[in-house]
């Protein structure tokens, strides 16, 4: 276990940002933290990288206690913060050179590492310009370059690809996967891009209100929660009958269209259509992590309009 938390909690006044959270991340794993805004992802990472003290509970990073052995924890980690923390009045290269000194990169490989990461994020040409002349995406890239430069054992990435173009994202993920494999680096990342989590992460945890509500590999989560989604329009709607079929996971109605999650469309679609009776229209797609995410966190704004959110239901009474 490279990262382990036990009932880890952080409160800010009345807000409980992280709520008795238990988590275990294995060595060499790329682990994703998903969750709506304010779920507590950044707070969790801040505690793990020792810049925030937990209110209660314990946690270990690389086997070191995050409160009692802060120095050792810091020696084991690298981090890319959600908010930019590169220095505006320094050049890209100067920022990286400082990082080399602060994070104890051996002298012999310093300049080589700088060139290496600059080429990964495609910033060679702008390396000697001041950071305050960079675009938002370029800053982000510099930040990423800095986070991976000292080849930490554990890398925390808080929304690392926020605002990056698809080319750069692709490039960076290839490199990170490579690093994780070659150096047996463990990566804990947060993201709001479900495709990214799906593509990259060995396991993901969905966090809401500071608690883990689901944890598994993206494939397993999709299988368990969503399966395949059949959307159809039918004339005679007998939802209860469909709901009772044993391969149906759940049924929803949205703007006159039935959304039916079933376990294996290839196998059960025909039977399902026999049960629905005549239909106007049908579409089958694989469930995505996005569906899983919404299933657990269910705070999609469109959802609230279509079906009546909590407040609308209250107001109707």
């Amino acid at each position: 276990m490279v990262i382990k938390t036990e009932a880890l909690t952080k409160t800010f006044g009345k807000i409980t940002a992280v709520n008795e959270l238990n988590l275990e991340v294995n060595e060499g794993e790329i682990f994703g933290l998903l969750g709506p805004n304010g779920a507590g992802k950044t707070t969790l990472i801040s505690m793990l990288c020792t810049i925030l003290k937990p209110t209660s509970g314990r946690a270990w990073v690389n086997g070191f206690d995050i409160v009692k052995e802060q120095g050792k924890v810091r020696k084991s980690i690298g981090i890319v913060f959600q908010q930019a923390s590169v220095d505006d009045l320094l050049t890209g290269r100067e920022n990286l050179a400082l990082h080399n000194l602060l994070f104890e990169v051996p002298k012999a490989v310093r300049s080589q590492r700088i060139d290496e990461v600059l080429s990964i994020v495609n910033l060679e040409k702008r390396a000697d310009d001041f950071v305050n002349t960079y675009s938002g995406g370029m800053r982000r890239r510099l930040e990423l370059a800095r986070g991976i430069m000292h080849h930490p054992k554990i890398l925390f990435l808080d929304e690392p690809t926020l605002g990056l173009d698809p080319q750069t994202r692709d490039h960076i993920w290839d490199y990170i996967k490579d690093l994780a494999q070659k150096e047996c680096m463990t990566i804990l990342l947060t993201t709001h891009y479900m495709d990214e989590a799906e593509q990259l992460c060995d396991r993901v945890a969905i966090i809401d209100y500071g608690k883990i509500v689901a944890l598994d590999s993206p494939v397993a989560l999709k299988k368990k929660i969503i399966g395949d989604v059949v959307s159809l329009k039918q004339k005679t709607s007998d939802i209860e009958r469909i709901r009772k079929l044993d391969y149906v996971i759940k049924v929803e109605e949205k703007e006159g269209v039935l959304l039916i999650s079933i376990k294996d469309a290839g196998k059960h679609l025909q039977d399902l259509l026999l049960n629905t009776g005549p239909i106007d229209f049908v579409e089958v797609r694989r469930g995505t992590l996005n569906d899983v995410f919404l299933h657990y966190t269910g705070r999609d704004i469109r959802e609230a309009e279509a079906e009546g959110g909590f407040w609308e239901r209250v107001m109707k009474r």
Partner: protein, 248 residues
Amino acid sequence: MSEIEGIYAVWLREAKIYIREKERLISSVISPLLWIFGFGAGLGSTVEKISGYPYQIFIYPGIMVMTVLFTSLFYGVYIIWDRKLDFLKEVLVAPISRASVFAGKMLGGATDAMVQVVYLIIIGFFISIPFTPLVILEAFLMLLLISIAMVSIGLVIGANLKSPEGFSLVINFVMWPMFFFSGALFPVSNLAPWLSAVTYINPLTYGVDAMRGIILGINHFPILLDAGVLVLFAAIMMEIGILSFRRM
């Protein structure tokens, strides 16, 4: 070794920023000029000689101390900005100790102040301050000591506050009393008893006294006492500073 490199890294960043922020450089040239020529020359025309020196020359050591005091104390505000703009996080998660981060910042602040001291020494030649190489060396070291103590106070306050506005408020309560009751503008001898009591507990008084001793040969206390008080005070402030940085 890595701790020293860490200190160097933090210092280097401060030094680079100092050079690149034009406002900081310009104000550090202008403010000592204003004090010496505005205050010293202006007030000097109405005040008689003190201890055989024209007022402008008498207050020169005090102005040096004051410049170092202001620059050093105010330097603490940058740590609040760093934190606001998230620059500080990178340093706080680095594997170097907080004592080293503090040392780097402290040396950064002392560098700002000592650059001003160099200007002041150059100005000193123009207003015929009796400088010798030894005097310059001693003055430089003494001012460095004062600066280290004062930067530490600034960093302690900066590390414990969240807003720049709050910082200015607190710093003004520290800075002006320290300055007024230090004897920078008037001799410490022949003061009212309550006033001299206040000056005696003010660590800056010993800095001003030492500087006046070094440059003009006018001492109220033995120079070793001055230096001793300042070293002790600087050590205490550094300790508190390191503790504050650990809690950050």
